[in-house]
């Protein structure tokens, strides 16, 4: 008797839904063991996290504040991942978006009418993010350079560059030594909706619906899907793979750029430390959990945001490290990847080793 994996006739829709849910539970279980080992009651901790994120209107708006950059970056990552282009660089693209938006807000306000500042800042954020994703895309498409490494390396470059700006040339002379730029003129702020939730959330939601439509109902969606699933087939169909990769990554980077613009124009109102919070990495988990479905991404982004806000809450309330949230996130991806096999295969116990007969 032995256990074998057997390919399913079609993918299991149960597994598509169940694997992310089970993975989430596994990560909670692992987190509970970790908390128990460190002498804390996991149930109390999880309850504090839940109350801290969904317990009141105020805490829920804070969850939405964190969900906004996660939504943008996850959508961006999903576009790239559909083509099996592993864009690990959403973090750097986000940082560049924040820097470009800050550039417009800080230095263009004197020479331009106020109402043009915000749209221009958003546009430049898109352009900056797109360039930062476009470079590794072009390297991959035309020179076949491994994209995981280039996008990763560019994260470090972007973060260091931004740091140089707010510690150096862009530092506010009246900031009393605080590392950050001067405050942007109010004309460049993204309008707030409720609490600290800003217009960026609405823009991100619009993009989620647009992308869902584009993925499922347009020729572009079809072409990018085929490239991801089977490059040989894509070539036979006459699809231009190189151009598609570059275009998709420009859009991917632009969305992450908007995430950065939202953080600077909508929340901090200056370029300062804390722009790079690891959202670009969390985005990878979110889009994977959502099976790259833009509508599912909305919900998973809110869930992941609640882990981050919950982590902050238990740090304030219970003195536990906020990185509990990050540990839980990191732990979700692993069972999910392992469980991915079950969508295409099923476990079967074979009693007799006569495989030839079973196949016939």
């Amino acid at each position: 008797m032995r256990i074998v994996f057997e390919k399913r006739e079609s993918i299991s829709h149960w597994a598509v839904v169940l694997v992310p849910i089970i993975s989430f539970l596994v990560s909670l279980l692992f987190g509970a063991i970790l908390l128990l080992a460190s002498g804390v009651d996991p149930l109390v901790t999880y309850q504090a996290m839940a109350v801290g994120t969904f317990g009141s209107w105020h805490s829920f708006t804070e969850t939405l504040v964190k969900a906004t950059p996660l939504l943008f970056t996850s959508l961006g990552v999903a576009i790239a991942f559909r083509m099996k282009f592993w864009n690990i660089g959403a973090e750097g693209q986000l940082v560049w978006g924040g820097v470009a938006a800050a550039w417009v807000a800080l230095f263009w306000s004197k020479s331009l009418p106020g109402w043009t500042l915000l749209p221009l800042a958003l546009l430049m954020a898109c352009v900056a993010g797109a360039i930062w994703a476009g470079v590794p895309a072009a390297l991959k498409a035309y020179l076949n350079v491994d994209e995981t490494l280039t996008t990763l390396m560019l994260n470090y470059v972007a973060i260091l560059y931004a740091k140089n700006l707010y510690y150096g040339p862009w530092r506010d002379p009246e900031g009393m030594g605080f590392p950050g730029s001067a405050q942007f003129p109010a004309a460049a702020w993204l309008p707030r909706i409720t609490g600290r939730v800003h217009l960026g959330l609405i823009i991100a939601l619009i993009f989620a619906f647009l992308l869902w439509f584009a993925f499922n109902r347009t020729r572009w969606g079809f072409e990018t899907r085929i490239i991801g699933e089977n490059q040989t087939a894509a070539r036979y169909l006459g699809i231009n793979i190189k151009r598609n990769i570059v275009i998709a990554l420009l859009i991917s980077g632009a969305l992450s750029g908007l995430a950065g613009a939202g953080e600077t124009l909508g929340i901090a109102h200056r370029l300062q430390q804390g722009l790079s919070m690891g959202y670009g990495y969390t985005a990878i988990i979110i889009s994977w959990m959502s099976q790259l479905n833009p509508l599912a991404i909305i919900f998973v982004a809110v869930l992941m945001a609640s882990l981050l806000v919950g982590g902050d809450q238990i740090q304030i309330m219970m003195g536990l490290p906020a990185s509990v949230g990050v540990v839980l996130q990191g732990m979700i991806l692993i069972p999910m990847l392992a469980g991915g096999l079950f969508t295409e295969y099923r476990l079967r116990i074979v009693r007799t080793p006569k495989i030839e007969e079973a196949k016939a």
Binding site: F5, I88, T148, Y281, P321, V324, V327, G340
Partner: protein, 311 residues
């Protein structure tokens, strides 16, 4: 500015630092070379290094023995390697993303455990340099090459050792076969899964050691993000070194030289913003990858899961 960098004592200092900083790159990259030679692309090296750096540091802090720290880092590396092998070999998951999962897991866990157990910057007794008698008395060369702690010598020795293992032993032949044509190796009775598990675990143990070097043999303390992307650079070095220990040695030295140079630029207080100095290894990685792209041979089955049923 230039004359500051060109004085003999500075040059010797930079070269000696470069030789020392080759260690984490070499250990991690030589380990990753085994994984990739067997067909598994383990991008999680950075996360393993972080856990190795923290685990080694913490055990050394608690027990007062850096050697126990080394053992802990190797054990952590083995466990994380087992996890990566399970996901990528048994469960046949997408390897690039699995590595990122392993990285995030290591990153989050190391940060969490550090805050929970220590929480502040404190230093430990790390490994002391061992001057090799006679050789370390040679002017210039002696200081550059023969006055380091044991981990530096160990990492350099691993270059010929891994070369012999990979190219002169039956097991090395199996590893290379599994990475190129797993189907053929399987037909000849080689267990593809077993070879891949072994290689990923070896690689991960070495990544754990590379991380432990940073805390036990370099800074003698732990701080968040202490690995600073060195694990990712090590993965790039495997490409750059064309899956060959000697090539990896060359690449590792080039990178550690740049690393040492940027450290010395900061030490000497030269008029270059420190962020730009720190940035150079990352930019260099991208340039190096672009430069060798398209003109390199790579293990044909790299990144491709092997399924015996042929599914």
């Amino acid at each position: 500015m230039i004359h500051q960098l060109l004085s003999l004592s500075t040059i010797v200092g930079i070269l000696a630092t470069a030789v020392r900083l080759t260690t984490p790159f070499l250990l991690a990259a030589l380990g990753e070379m085994f994984a990739q030679r067997s067909g598994i692309y383990n991008l999680g090296v950075e996360g393993v290094m972080m856990m190795g750096a923290f685990g080694g540091f913490w055990v050394a802090l608690v027990t007062g023995s850096a050697w126990l720290g080394i053992l802990a880092a190797m054990g952590i590396g083995a466990l994380m390697g087992l996890l990566m092998a399970f996901i990528s070999v048994t469960m046949q998951a997408e390897q690039g993303i699995s590595g990122i999962g392993l990285y995030m897991f290591g990153w989050g866990l190391a940060g969490f455990l550090f805050r929970l157990t220590v929480g502040y910057i404190t230093s430990i007794d790390g490994f002391k340099p061992i001057a090799i008698p006679l050789l370390s008395d040679i002017p210039v060369l002696g200081t550059v090459l023969f006055d380091h702690n044991w981990m530096v010598y160990f990492a350099l020795l691993m270059v010929p050792i891994t070369w012999v293992i990979l190219f002169k032993t039956t097991w090395g032949l199996k590893v290379r076969a599994v990475g190129v044509t797993p189907e053929a190796a399987d037909t000849l009775g080689v267990s593809v899964a077993r070879v891949r598990y072994t290689c990923v675990i070896i690689g991960s143990v070495m990544a754990g050691l590379a991380g432990a070097f940073l805390t036990l043999g370099h800074t003698n303390m732990y701080a968040d993000n202490i690995t600073a992307g060195r694990g990712f650079i090590a993965v790039a070095l495997v490409y750059f070194g064309r899956w060959n220990p000697w090539g990896i040695l060359g690449g590792a030295f080039l990178f550690s030289f740049v690393d040492a140079l940027q450290l010395w630029i900061q030490v000497l207080g030269l008029n270059i913003p420190y962020e730009f100095a720190v940035m150079t290894p990352y930019v260099l990685t991208i340039l190096a990858l672009a430069l060798v792209a398209g003109r390199i041979w790579e293990p044909a089955a790299l990144g491709r899961p092997f399924d015996r049923e042929g599914g």
